[in-house]
């Protein structure tokens, strides 16, 4: 399969993220909900240097032409990832994914199957069911899941392009509450792991990258910040710092102190 890059934004030492048949330099994926206006969203996307952008198909109204959200996301600059937000079960998710494909928004899909409107937690069983069908229909599937290592392996086995476990509940800004489970998922994964949901500040994103996540997806923390454009830039830096640190190889945590300039064998 041909691998093509959609951007030439510099990144640490030619470090490239490959998902499906696409390559990306940026490891920050952005969501497009909750912004005060499409023009602020557009500026935040630019500041984030994101190359992949997810859009809720429920918000897309192609009949509205110039007022529709898609008019503010340049397909030459961003790889569009429609999501199935609002789907409560596999049937609804399949319907939304197929609608996106029919509408010409592509055959990638961020699979969200969320039966619970309060904490917006994903339903693993329904997600797996929908993923299996969508992969067979030729979709590139990126499923949003609980930080469940077994489910992550199952989704990988049915052909998903990534797994997207949550750091904490969507929109909660609580950070990596699921860190221990994320580490297991990252250790075992043969597909990229994108930490999705719950990252509230750039240090959360950096922490996810430091433990070896391949990318993160951020929406609420940027869209609802006082200054979304500035926060988008801050997340870009956080992701880059975390990724670079991961590549640099961190020192081990120790129980004891150790001098920075050790005195050995002089006496």
């Amino acid at each position: 399969m041909v691998t093509e890059s959609i951007s030439s934004v510099p990144s640490p030492a030619g470090d490239i993220l490959k998902i499906g048949n696409q390559t990306f330099h940026s490891r920050l994926l952005m969501g497009t909900g909750k912004f005060a206006s499409f023009s602020i969203m557009k500026r935040a996307l630019e500041a984030s240097h994101a190359e992949m952008v997810t859009v809720a198909l429920r918000r897309v109204d192609i009949s509205r032409h110039e007022k529709d959200i898609l008019q503010f996301i340049d397909p030459k600059k961003y790889w569009l990832l429609p999501n199935t937000s609002g789907a409560k079960n596999a049937t609804e998710a399949l319907r939304i994914a197929r609608l996106a494909k029919e509408a010409g928004i592509g055959n990638w899909v961020k699979l969200e199957v969320i039966p619970d409107p309060r904490y917006l937690l994903p339903d693993g069983a329904e997600t797996l069911k929908a993923a299996e069908v969508l992969v067979k229909e030729g979709f590139t599937v990126l499923p949003y899941i609980q930080a469940d290592p077994i489910l992550a392996k199952q989704l990988e086995e049915v052909g998903c392009a990534t797994v997207m476990p949550l750091g904490s509940w969507i929109g909660s800004a609580r950070g990596l509450k699921t860190k221990d489970a994320l580490e297991i998922i990252i250790e075992q994964a043969q597909v990229p792991v994108v930490v999705d949901a719950g990252l509230g500040v750039p240090s959360h994103a950096a922490a996810a990258m430091e433990i070896g996540a391949d990318a993160v997806l951020v929406n609420t923390a940027i869209a609802t910040a006082e200054d979304p454009v500035k926060m988008a830039e801050a997340f870009k830096l956080g992701v880059e710092a975390g990724r670079t640190a991961f590549l640099a190889g961190r020192v081990e945590e120790k129980m004891w102190g150790e001098a920075s300039s050790p005195l050995k064998g002089i006496l």
Binding site: G33, F35, A36, S37, D61, R95, P115, D116, R118, T224
Partner: protein, 314 residues
């Protein structure tokens, strides 16, 4: 300094819903009604011109709203099981739903089986206000018709939940009973329902009583300031619930409340059946206070730093 009640509510709303306001329009199907409710313009004894729209007339009204940009419609009627029947509603839904992103109904309550049929043909939501949680007052204002039965009305809400309606709208008529007694009851009701029907998305409307053909003196009027406090308290008590605000309220207050906790707004509404294409012919349910066009309301929302959302489902 401790943030004010309004600041807290504002932040809770933004965290959950972002800087967005969902737009919808009511479409009145009929003002015929077999209930006698003292506060309502459609109350049975009222001498108003009664009308139930033909299906063609409903579709014409809907097209008018669609042309204005609406994709979320709320079908409204009095309680008249023969005129606004299950068949009438399913027929309208089958034709209308494919042109919309979301269709809800605020009509007479149905049993679970009927709600299930409505869900299957495309109805997304049911709005069913208890009006008041004070049984004494409920009895005093609901004088005749099926709506008299307080417990039955509570049970219908659960029938809609069991029928897997995506959205279920709760509400009270502010002004019927003292609001400091009503709000804890409403919140407790919503919380009980959320536990039991954990997949249902609940919304809350708090219409303030307005003058109507019934000439009913509001027993416990709610001031603008109290109304703002009510919205803020509700937001903090139920951070995940959509709060709906109609054009009963004046523009300046609506613009203020969207920064406190409101998440859904109607615009350019008419409350008489056929009112979009033939205004002022049939009797209306109540008087409106925000006469701005949908485009003007959307512009005010944008100016307040929010995105009006015209389409939010499939």
């Amino acid at each position: 300094m401790e943030p004010s009640l309004f600041d807290k509510a504002h932040h809770a709303t933004i965290q959950r819903f972002g800087r967005t306001i969902q737009m919808y329009a009511p479409l009145y199907l009929s003002n015929e009604c077999i209930d006698t409710c003292r506060y309502c313009g459609f109350s049975r004894p009222n001498k108003i011109l009664r009308q139930t729209l033909t299906i063609d007339a409903v579709l014409n009204e809907a097209q008018f709203l669609i042309n204005q940009g609406f994709r979320h419609l709320l079908l409204v009627s009095g309680e008249h099981p023969k005129k606004v029947s299950l068949d009438y509603l399913t027929e309208i839904t089958k034709i209308l739903r494919p042109k919309l992103a979301l269709l809800s109904i605020e009509v007479a309550p149905f049993e679970e089986d009927a709600y299930r049929k409505l869900t299957e043909c495309g109805v997304d939501g049911v709005v069913l206000y208890q009006e008041t949680y004070n049984r004494e007052i409920y009895k005093k204002v609901h004088l005749g018709g099926p709506k008299k039965d307080y417990d039955k009305r509570l049970e219908f809400v659960e029938a809609a939940c069991r029928a897997k309606m995506r959205f279920v709208g709760l509400g009270i008529l502010l002004g019927l009973a003292p609001w400091r007694e009503e709000m804890p009851e409403l919140i407790a009701h919503a919380k009980r329902l959320m536990k039991k029907y954990w997949q249902t998305q609940f919304t809350i409307s708090l219409p303030r009583l307005k003058p109507c053909a019934s000439d009913f003196a509001v027993p416990h009027p709610v001031t603008d300031e109290a109304f703002a406090e009510i919205i803020a308290q509700l937001r903090l008590a139920l951070p995940e619930v959509g709060i709906i605000l109609s054009t009963r309220e004046k523009p300046a207050l609506r613009d203020r409340l969207l920064k406190i906790g409101v998440t859904q707004m109607s615009a350019g509404s008419k409350t008489e059946p056929g009112g979009y294409l033939h205004p002022e012919e049939a009797g209306k349910q109540f008087e409106l206070s925000d006469h701005r066009t949908p485009a003007e309301v959307a512009a005010a929302i944008t100016k307040a730093g929010y995105e009006p959302v015209w389409k939010d489902w499939i």
